[in-house]
Symmetry: C2
Subunit: 209 residues, 2 copies
């Protein structure tokens, strides 16, 4: 039985230095893939950016696909961390407004480029890389749950009317955000993002007692 565990745990055990190198690679890959897309980023580019050799990269990742999966996980963490603590207290109209403002602000700062770090990966990977699609789906589920928690809290506290469904409102809000980011990326101005989020927040407000 000890054997079985050993066999399953074939995944390299990483030393301290190893972990450091690995995460340097992932961060570099994430940065480049965000800027140029997955296909637009060669493994060699990642090597240069992370200052590692080919053998190092392939020591930590069997193939490019595996690196891409790690990037998705990494970006999910980044996005969710960046929105904390706002995201974990989306339980009032003021909090929603503050969150909205922060998102718009970020887009202004990055000159409306890049869109959503997670959303951008969808169209390139969802239909061709099953593992990546699963990982992306999980990322959005986490994000959606965070939003949902706040809306549910309002609902349970009775601040939201009973006929308001916090779950589909959360999903709709995430959809408006993603679409807003997408249109903002093409138009190079934040108006679509603002229109989408403002409309959806106003709609949520209409359920408040």
């Amino acid at each position: 039985m000890e054997n079985l565990i050993e066999i399953k745990k074939q995944e390299h055990r990483l030393t301290k230095k190893g972990k450091e190198t690995r995460s340097r690679i992932v961060a570099a890959a994430a940065k480049l893939m965000f800027e140029r897309g997955v296909a637009g980023t060669s493994v060699e580019d990642v090597q240069r950016e992370a200052k590692v050799s080919a053998s190092q990269l392939y020591h930590y990742f069997k193939e490019k696909r595996e690196l891409v999966l790690a990037v998705i996980v990494y970006q999910t963490e980044c996005v969710l961390n960046a929105q904390e603590p706002l995201l974990s207290h989306l339980d009032s109209m003021e909090a929603l407004q503050t969150w909205r403002d922060a998102i718009v602000q970020v887009q202004i700062e990055r000159k409306c480029q890049g869109g959503c770090a997670i959303g951008s990966l969808v169209s390139e990977l969802a239909d061709t890389e099953p593992a990546a699609r699963t990982e992306l789906a999980s990322a959005f589920v986490q994000w959606e749950h965070s939003i949902r928690r706040g809306l549910r809290a309002m609902h349970e506290r009775g601040e939201m009317r009973a006929d308001g469904d916090p779950d589909s409102l959360a999903l709709a809000l995430l959809a408006a955000l993603q679409g807003g980011l997408l249109l903002t990326q093409v138009r190079r101005e934040t108006s679509p993002l603002e229109a989408g989020l403002d409309a959806m927040i106003a709609h949520i407000r209409s359920f408040m007692v």
Copy 2:
């Protein structure tokens, strides 16, 4: 002065057969790029799909980038044509509902794969191909205008209250649609699309007299 015109009109004059071949190439490229992305589609793939030789393809398009631009124009036409006549009469709540149902139905039929034929191109091209970004922006402007026309009609007819802004509502609706399609593509189910569109349509309804 005659000269100036001549010089400007260097673009090949296409014979009947030429036009036919060219559009076969564009249609093939559009199909493949929708399924596998732009980077995931090689020029050779397009040749096979369209049953043309390399010299034919490069006779009509200077380089792959030029082909991509033609694909964007083509997909814009396809999307807008497919939504006619619904799109040109989005001037009542019933019409909006019918339009929504049609969009959801299409996603069900294609098993939630592929997302939006135009939207999918955004993340791959917007930040790296200026010409493509411009073309995509124009596509969305056309789409937005179609939606806007209907909402403005309701507004002007006095069916929508004066404090409702048809322009930003149109933009918000398009954002919800794009985000809904994106999430639908990752999740492989239409609930995000439905939630996004339903919420936005309900929000529009709240402005009706």
